[in-house]
Symmetry: C2
Subunit: 264 residues, 2 copies
């Protein structure tokens, strides 16, 4: 659905909202609006625009790649003050397709910005380590069973904790100049055959999590030593790290903000 821009409404009858979304990214070309592609940002913006009768742009906390999921993505938008928050949430879930859900909606102060106000983000990368991959995890996890050893991968993950220049783990095409990020958690969570790699940081570079995961898999499979991680980090060279892990195991899982006063 294409909604033409008929009016940029900046009237005082507008309010600013923070939205928490959950989505399965399989059927989308990622978050970010792109010409001739179905994206999550566009789908949410179109749904809001349809309800408002005017074009409603949506600003996300960060991009997710094609095929990547979100347990919690956050965005903000301005919307005409014509419906209660519960009504708007319900209407939005009725208009959105099944694979994008509004988990929470709240009015926020004008100073709130989904990306700029974010303090920290969590990504989870989900593996299944059993012999036979359950059909119920199709597109939702990566199968990892060919001689992967958790111990060295855990050791490797621990080296990423702290403040580092993550140039070695970012996409070659990235134009971001400051590639220093502070990682406050980097580790694995195992529960039976389900294995999750979790990383929390104050910011993430393009492909950073998938490049880290690809490198950790290489370590677990014995292609790189865990003790190589510090020199890979220090090299600032993308070619020193492992391959980019596929998108279907990756979830944007949580975003932290300073306490914001929410009127509702």
């Amino acid at each position: 659905m294409i909604v033409k821009m008929v009016q940029i409404n900046t009237s005082p009858e507008e309010k600013k909202y923070k939205i928490e979304l959950q989505y399965q990214g399989t059927n989308y070309r990622g978050w970010q609006i792109q010409p001739h592609q179905v994206t999550i940002q566009e789908t949410v913006s179109n749904a809001l625009s349809r309800l408002a009768g005017i074009r409603i742009p949506v600003t996300g906390a960060g991009r997710t790649d094609s095929g990547v999921h979100a347990i919690q993505q956050v965005a903000h938008f301005h919307f005409p003050d014509k419906e209660s928050v519960p009504d708007l949430k319900r209407a939005l879930n009725a208009v959105l397709p099944w694979d994008i859900r509004v988990v929470d909606l709240a009015e926020v102060p004008g100073s709130f910005h989904a990306r700029k106000s974010a303090l920290k983000k969590r990504y989870d990368y989900r593996f299944y380590t059993g012999e036979v991959f359950p059909p119920f995890l199709h597109n939702l996890a990566l199968h990892l069973n060919h001689g992967f050893r958790l111990k060295p991968a855990e050791k490797a993950a621990s080296y990423l904790d702290g403040t580092h220049d993550f140039s070695a783990f970012t996409g070659a095409g990235s134009s971001v100049e400051d590639r220093v990020r502070t990682v406050s958690f980097s580790g694995f969570i195992k529960k039976g055959s389900d294995l999750t790699y979790r990383i929390e940081a104050n910011g993430f570079l393009l492909y950073m999590v998938r490049n880290i995961v690809g490198t950790l898999i290489d370590v677990g499979c014995g292609r790189i030593e865990a003790s190589d991680i510090p020199s890979i980090l220090a090299s600032l060279d993308r070619n020193q790290a492992g391959p980019t892990a596929p998108p279907q195991g990756l979830y944007l899982a949580r975003i932290w903000y300073e306490d914001i006063s929410i009127k509702s």
Copy 2:
């Protein structure tokens, strides 16, 4: 893929195998082979036939309806003695589509029969009771959030325990004469917003679990009293029970057999 019947191999070079399957039923018209429909039984039979070079019929422990899943379905078949069990399992998983997986494969004595040797079966019906249905459970659970109360549904479920004539809970078209079954477990398992109704019995009638689940939902939503269940059972009348619950929450979860000597 259609495999023509070229030979019924009953030579002594054949062995009998028990196969444990896991499947997501969404894309299939149930287990049972039907003309002009893609079914699980046909898909498994075709995969085995392709590997054997002759037609391999497959006998399942029981039918599952269109859209119903299996965590553990069991079947048996005869197969030429030309591959080791691990090789056959691997080859089969390579040939089968992602939504049907071979979890286990073992050689069994000639007396084993997937349906007739089964002592007991378990079905799980999976609900999500939170406000917003997670996209990751699409086609894998039923959303239950409009005033459903667990307490009365639990009470209702407990009345099904024991030996009863389940005529009131079987499809009108069922031709089975003996409708007495012994239920050894009937209850709910709650874990956060995930709720599972579990039933174990020595046998199940057509649509029995889905009709029971539809009735339990009616009780939880206050449309029937839990204390009505005994008279519904006694009526032997399908019209007294609730509607048939949709298939996507239902899983054939486990099948019990007497200890069988497995050569491998």
